[in-house]
């Protein structure tokens, strides 16, 4: 049982959800989600956000029925000890895949925009100890990083005003020019940006008044939705669709135009500042992975954290070119989609049946 002292108040769920959702995706999701819905893809962002809210609701229903309501307990209850452990392992692998993709994509941005000659493994030796330093402490520290990882990079939203000087309204007109199918296809791609919140299934028991925190979870999701909506709207106003198809990181392109009396070319500062939004992603996901492993095998949180960081380190060195990273992003998107909209509702139903069975049985 988790001590009351180690729990955080429900209010922080807002930051946990937002910080896990907003990360490196902000830099380049606009082109990806525009593949089907074109300039209407910002509507797809809204659809995806609302769909995620539904999943959050399902997760809360699922979690609130258990004493230590986390995915390990639910799996154990639903599938039994061994099968449950296997499913938990798969879940951990999913979280770790997400971490690896986030980290590798960010490192790629650094490689392309800032330091083409950087030795990645050496840079990782600077970043990964920071992750360990955070998660080897109490959960409170992880939450703190998430909190500051939402507050501080929020300043970056101000930079979205400058490119509006070049906004052309015709670029997003006419609204709803695409079919519903196209919008749904784009939405399914947009879901990838939100999937980080899966960690909710792990940190839920660490929340004081967890059941009541649902409002904050939805608000956090709403805030992420707002961020993605603002970024995509500004992008679609700034670029026309033919242009956007050629740009890999449209957000960085938006920053490229900024020229102020005391500094020009915001993207360099932007990439550096974005580290504060990436860090919560890494920290929360690795923490959640280590905790699920620790809960399943009783192997010690810190030891598992070290193991996972080593895996992360190796994975990031093995992945080298952009093509693989792109493929991995797609794979992760599909897995995330399957997990959230397939597995979570399935688990919910199965869990419900099992509970009913237990209640009515002996």
């Amino acid at each position: 049982m988790i001590k009351l002292k180690d729990k955080v108040s429900a209010f922080f769920v807002f930051f946990l959800i937002t910080s896990s959702q907003v990360g490196v995706g902000v830099l380049g999701f606009q082109r990806v989600i525009g593949q089907y819905a074109g300039h209407d893809a910002w509507i797809a962002v809204i659809i995806a956000g609302i769909a995620i809210s539904v999943i959050i609701w399902i997760m809360y229903r699922l979690l609130s029925h258990h004493d230590i309501g986390d995915i390990v307990a639910i799996h154990r209850f639903t599938y039994g000890k061994w099968l449950g452990a296997i499913f938990t392992l798969l879940f951990t692998a999913y979280l770790m895949l997400m971490t690896a993709v986030v980290l590798r994509t960010y490192v790629e941005v650094i490689q392309v925009w800032m330091f083409p000659h950087i030795k990645i493994w050496a840079l990782l030796l600077l970043i990964l100890p920071l992750v360990y330093y955070t998660i080897s402490s109490e959960f409170r520290t992880v939450v703190g990083v998430c909190f500051l990882g939402v507050v501080y990079p929020s300043l970056l939203l101000l930079t979205l005003f400058y490119p509006l000087k070049y906004a052309t309204l015709t670029n997003i007109m006419p609204v709803m020019d695409h079919s519903v199918t196209e919008l749904m296809q784009s939405s399914s791609l947009a879901v990838l940006e939100f999937i980080g919140f899966s960690a909710l299934l792990v940190f839920y028991p660490y929340i004081r008044d967890a059941v009541k925190s649902q409002t904050y979870a939805h608000l956090g999701n709403g805030y992420s939705l707002l961020i993605y909506l603002m970024v995509s709207l500004v992008t679609y106003l700034y670029y026309n669709q033919t242009e956007l198809r050629e740009v890999i990181w449209p957000t960085l392109g938006l920053w490229k135009i900024i020229e102020l009396p005391f500094f020009a070319r915001f993207e360099y500062l932007g990439i550096a500042t974005l580290f504060f939004a990436i860090l919560p992603n890494l920290v929360l996901l690795v923490w959640a992975s280590a905790r699920t492993l620790d809960r399943t095998f009783n192997a010690g949180h810190k030891r598992m954290a070290i193991l996972l960081l080593v895996i992360l380190f190796v994975a990031n060195i093995v992945l080298t070119d952009r093509m693989t990273i792109g493929v991995l992003n797609n794979v992760l998107g599909n897995i995330g989609l399957g997990f959230l909209f397939g597995y979570v509702p399935f688990l919910f139903v199965l869990n419900w049946i099992r509970r009913k069975g237990q209640k009515n049985g002996p």
Partner: protein, 491 residues
């Protein structure tokens, strides 16, 4: 007859003991014949007050009538005198400012009178935390004077003073002060327990205590506030915190504290809240500026020349046109120069120190630019950064701020702005992990408590300060309404 031999033996013992004492430096011995018996007075010259000695002891010993020391004792208007027969423990007391009177044939044979030399520093104006307006008293080295300064301000029965002793050799007196009913018992308990657990042979200053009982000893950040202002201590005690007085130290420790508190000068409470908030914000900006500006200079000039706007470009490059070093060396050179100036200024007497500051600042600065060792833009940058770090009201914190600039500079040289971001994230996580007496150090930023922001980045008017900071978990959260408060003060 029997009595006589005993007296002779005693006399021999005494003379033997006395002659041993006489060999010690500064020992003074008077002999007076009173009636039939000899009266001896002995003391160490350096530890007794000569005025008291003259007025209360010597005259009375000579002129008054008494038959034995017990009668003499009643004539001497000094309390805590002691009568005893055995001379063995006397020497230790002599060192502490006692004198002994020995009368032959008296029983008990020794009278010990405390006439210690009172060489305390007078209460003077604060030097480290000077303020233009407001009280001008600062703590001194003597713990009783210091406690008295607090008692004067908090003349209430709830003031809880717990005296302890630390240091196996120095036996320093330590007082843990809090207000009953306001301060959290847990905090008081933690402090007393940690002080009791201290295992040191010497404690000569409060910083010894500070470094020993602090939560994380491997942190460059001080986790207990120290101040020399009694008004600040009084005010913070009312907020529900715990103060630690150490004998021999003019600095009093406070806990639990927060990062923000280190950047609030006590002056802030003497000005109108708008002015105070503005100054506090300026101070915070100055701190960020002073940490970041030189590393950013290095990062930008080494890696990211793209972000320099076109209008500033030629100014920056041309100022570096003659400089043979990369920006990092140039910056380290100047930062080192500033640190040296500060060190030199701190080691020298005030007047010479000022001269050194001016000479160093102007001469070295101008000369190094003219010699082409540094660029004048960097000179301005480093100068402002140094100024910014000196605005921090707590000296120990301003040292920390200057210290963390050096690793930042190096990481900026290697990884540019990214390196800065990573290193700042390290500091951020470190600060998040830090606690002060078990309470989070980053409060109210994290855990985020909007109520405690009333006295953090800005200071709201006193009417709005109606709750005590939650971070110290005070027993009474609400500050009492103004009227009630007045009544309790009057009674």
């Amino acid at each position: 007859m029997n009595k006589n031999t005993e007296q002779k033996k005693m006399k021999r013992d005494f003379e033997k003991w006395l002659s041993a004492l006489k060999k010690k430096d500064g020992f003074i011995h008077h002999q007076v014949k009173h009636h039939n018996s000899m009266v001896h007075v002995g003391y160490f010259k350096t530890s007794v007050d000569p005025k008291k000695l003259e007025k209360y002891i010597l005259t009375r010993v000579q002129d008054y009538l008494y038959n034995n020391l017990t009668e003499l004792k009643d004539h001497i208007p000094i309390t805590k005198t002691e009568l005893q027969n055995n001379p063995d423990t006397i020497e230790e007391k002599l060192v502490n400012g006692f004198l002994f009177i020995h009368m032959e044939g008296s029983d008990p044979a020794y009278l010990l009178v405390p006439v210690p030399l009172d060489n305390k520093r007078e209460v003077s104006t604060p030097e480290v935390e000077f303020s233009v307006v407001g009280p001008k008293e600062a703590f001194v080295e003597d713990i009783d004077t210091n406690l008295n300064l607090i008692r004067k301000r908090l003349a209430i029965s709830e003031l809880n003073i717990q005296k302890l002793q630390v240091g196996t050799v120095t036996k320093t007196a330590v007082a843990v002060v809090s207000i009953k009913g306001i301060a959290d018992d847990d905090n008081v308990q933690t402090v007393t327990q940690r002080i009791k657990d201290m295992n040191m042979d010497q404690v000569v200053d409060s910083s010894f205590v500070q470094q020993t009982i602090t939560d994380n000893k491997n942190s460059p950040f001080p986790q207990l506030l120290d101040t020399e202002r009694p008004d600040r201590i009084a005010s913070i005690l009312v907020e529900g915190k715990v103060a630690i007085f150490v004998d021999g130290s003019p600095h009093v420790l406070l806990g639990p504290t927060t990062l923000i508190e280190f950047f609030s000068a006590f002056d802030d409470y003497f000005y109108n809240w708008l002015t105070a908030s503005a100054f506090r914000l300026i101070r915070l900006i100055a701190v960020f500026f002073s940490i970041l500006v030189t590393p950013i200079y290095v990062a930008v000039l080494t890696h990211h020349f793209e972000i320099i706007p076109n209008t500033m470009l030629s100014t920056l490059i041309s100022s570096r046109a003659q400089v043979p070093f990369p920006p990092i060396l140039e910056a380290l050179l100047l930062e080192m120069a500033i640190e040296l100036l500060r060190e030199a200024g701190a080691r020298l007497p005030t007047k010479v120190g000022q001269t050194i500051g001016i000479v160093g600042g102007i001469v070295i600065g101008t000369a190094s630019v003219e010699a082409g060792l540094t660029s004048n833009v960097l000179l301005i940058v480093v100068g402002i950064a140094a100024l910014g770090s000196f605005t921090t009201p707590v000296y120990k914190m301003s040292n920390t701020i200057r210290l963390i600039r050096f690793p930042l500079l190096i990481v900026a040289h290697v990884y540019g702005l990214l390196g800065l971001a990573i290193f700042i994230a390290y500091i951020m996580v470190h600060l998040l992990r830090l606690t002060s007496l078990g309470r989070p150090f980053m409060e109210p930023i994290f855990p985020f408590r909007i109520k405690d922001f009333k006295d953090a980045l800005i200071r709201l008017p006193f009417e709005k300060q109606n709750t005590r900071p939650y971070e110290v978990r005070p027993s009474k959260v609400m500050r009492p309404p103004a009227k009630e408060n007045d009544q309790t003060r009057d009674s």
